[in-house]
Symmetry: C2
Subunit: 456 residues, 2 copies
């Protein structure tokens, strides 16, 4: 059964790529209100494909935000495992658009890559499962496992819809394991299995000084400038050693064990490549931890954006009324994102200088997660990845956040197997995001073999 | 001669206002490239009016930036003083446009005010002289003094054109005294005579961290975030007492004498009104100085704008490549704006954290100035202002900058008499800028009497 599916997949690479390009050309940017209609269109496009593949009950489920797409096929029999396949069809905004070498929604193929916003994160990786299902259905008319698909549209904005949807559909979504392709490999021939994810807490802070923008010559020197206040507050959030100064921030962090530090140290990681990839001349982070630990196993705080006053061309002599910043923390398992948001918000209100008003709001949040390495689903993943890529996968902690992994654990009681097919230089969230096409095809092969293996 | 002119001015207030509204409706925003044509149109409109008034040699002089308008009337005779009348026809940008209650270029009259960008700063004040000349010319066919007009279009952007123009036309612009209306009174019945102006030094700083915007989950925690770096640098530019920490910044500042502090303390100033006007609950500034001294007699440093990373709606998890700020200092007489710019630029480069690249550029600069209180032109101004407004003018230091006053001193060897008719709540550089119409008419009366007095 899987051999036929594998042959079908190999024979239809051209058609698979064309259809992927069509999917990538839909500008499903969840963060921007002007793309609301595109979000609906993309969800409908997916549901139509799922129906065409032979899946049942393909639906575009309305939410308070962007819709959730679901579908299922449960005829493998009650003795076969049920796999919940998760992905997201929404993508990040494309700015700065002028740095793209081709239209982010034209999905141009150059060399072995397809270039498009969402190509790697996550439309390209998610679409692998559509093609896996097609390969099985077109050759055997059935799948080796039961599947339930859950594709959301608010991953990039941390919208609240998915958690509510999962909570309301616990029975419908009941499964034995979840499979997610939204992570990356270390190299084209070096797969990895992510067993830990960081959580996220994202807030926005707004400072108000004077009631209106003032003339800096008439008022400057006697008013607390809100940009000055914001700079002082932000500067104080880390000490010289890169430790975050928000009281209580580290309280619930589980210390890294020596054993785990050794596992992390074994994962291939080149500081030189990391620096070259980021385009920096040196690394800087929390003292006492390796770069690898800093970006995967330790909580962080980054300022994602800042604005205030006159930002146009030239020299307006204004003393501004307002200043804003976006701040986010990556959290490790056991840190509660709501608790951290509250600590951070309270701290910002406390440290504000006199005569400046502080308002904060939460934009996004999700818990971290830690996955059991010793389940049959994890062992099968290890075996299949080694078979397809020729190298045993490395166990990795991922610096990014996939909050749904924590939700699946807490609400559905299942672990997620993260079969990542992205590459470190795919440029997620950056201009010229791309997806390595051999990984698209190897991803399809991996998932075909994986379903066959766990459905044996 | 002046009585006829005064009667004419009183009889023609309606026509004067209509023509002022026409002038204010020209959107002469010097900072924005898309208004380049409007700048040229406004200059031509002025030159046409000057010719129509009976002035000679009215010209729109091209420069490397926006044009300078000149005109003259030199037939009062060699025994009469020659007055150089300076003003600027350019205005500030209008953003945030949504806070305006009427179109900034419709010049709506409500109660006793005309509301328009540039109504007080400086088109409305400058236009007083056109109407003064009209009043004399239409009644006597001549003026009591020789006049030269110089109206520039780069005051709000500190463009280099005017200094070069003055330098190149020293002979053509030769005069005994300059008259400028670009300052304000304390109250509608309390004129003041500004005898000191602050200089300005305006720079922009650009920090570069990584080569591109990065995913904060994949890189956050191990890269020096340029917004973090900028916040730290800006926060360090003042100490807790509000002193500016740039080495050498205060070196050339002349200490305020006890006598001068007493003059300043006598000028009516209400901290409560200042706070209410600015919309703040308290004042904050350099320790050891009164609010009045802070905003007029001491040098200052303000952050005028800041931007970097994701500033749109929602929560993009980006670790940005770049962060920017606009910083300006108000300088007091004896501080050299070029020297201060260099000190500030060097300091910013020195204090940048590791792995962040700093680039700075100068956007604007001008020297401060101090005017002799004991000249016949200053004494005549004192006398006429008292006559028109009923109260003796107060001697004031002005917190803002009129760099041309320093240029007139250095290049032409003449002092400037600053007959200011703005009011403190005119909202210069802010939404709903306005000009108090009784001051427009009293300004015309003042200038008619002043020219008659110094031309006696």
């Amino acid at each position: 059964m899987s051999n036929d599916a594998l042959q079908y997949a190999t024979a239809h690479r051209t058609e698979f790529l064309t259809e992927l390009q069509e999917f990538l050309s839909l500008p499903s940017i969840s963060a921007l209100p002007e793309h609301k209609v595109d979000m609906q269109r993309t969800a409908q496009w997916l549901a139509d494909r799922f129906t065409a593949l032979g899946l049942h009950n393909a639906r575009v489920n309305p939410t308070t935000g962007h819709p959730v797409v679901t579908a299922e096929w449960l005829e493998a029999g009650p003795d076969k495992p049920t796999v919940l396949i998760y992905g997201h069809y929404d993508v990040q905004p494309v700015d700065p658009i002028e740095l793209w070498h081709s239209d982010p929604f034209k999905a141009e193929v150059r060399d072995d890559y397809v270039y498009a916003r969402g190509s790697s994160d996550d439309k390209g990786q998610m679409f692998i499962y559509a093609k896996v299902i097609e390969a099985f259905m077109q050759t055997s008319g059935r799948l080796p496992v039961n599947v339930k698909l859950l594709v959301e549209g608010e991953e990039e904005i941390g919208g609240p819809s998915l958690d509510a949807f999962i909570d309301d559909h616990r029975t419908q979504l009941k499964a034995d394991v979840a499979v997610i392709s939204d992570t990356h490999m270390l190299r084209p021939d070096q797969p990895c299995l992510v067993y830990a994810l960081r959580g996220l807490c994202y807030i926005q802070v707004e400072l108000t000084g004077p009631a209106r923008d003032l003339h800096s010559g008439q008022y400057g020197g006697a008013i607390y400038n809100p940009i000055q206040a914001l700079a002082e507050m932000l500067a104080s959030l880390k000490d010289r050693d890169g430790h975050i100064t928000v009281p209580g921030f580290y309280d619930k962090v589980l210390p890294l064990s020596e054993a785990e530090r050794q596992i992390l140290a074994q994962a291939p990681f080149s500081a030189a490549e990391f620096m070259q990839d980021a385009g920096v001349t040196g690394v800087w982070g929390e003292k006492g931890y390796t770069t690898k630990e800093q970006i995967t196993a330790r909580p962080t705080l980054e300022i994602n954006g800042i604005w205030g006053g006159f930002t146009g061309e030239g020299s307006k002599t204004v003393l501004p009324a307002k200043a804003f910043a976006k701040i986010s923390c990556r959290l490790v398992a056991n840190q509660d994102h709501l608790e951290i948001a509250e600590l951070l918000q309270e701290h910002l209100e406390r440290i504000a200088p006199p005569y400046v008003k502080v308002e904060t709001k939460r934009l996004h949040g999700g818990h971290g997660a830690l996955i059991n390495l010793d389940s049959k689903y994890m062992r099968a993943a290890h075996q299949v990845l080694q078979q397809v890529f020729g190298n045993a996968p490395v166990y990795e902690r991922e610096g990014g956040s996939i909050p749904v992994v924590s939700t699946f654990q807490k609400v559905l009681g299942i672990d997620s197997i993260m079969l990542g097919f992205g590459l470190p230089d795919d440029g997620l969230h950056s201009p010229n995001e791309r997806f390595y096409l051999p990984n698209f095809y190897h991803g399809i092969e991996t998932a075909i073999r994986y379903f066959a293996e766990i459905g044996k």
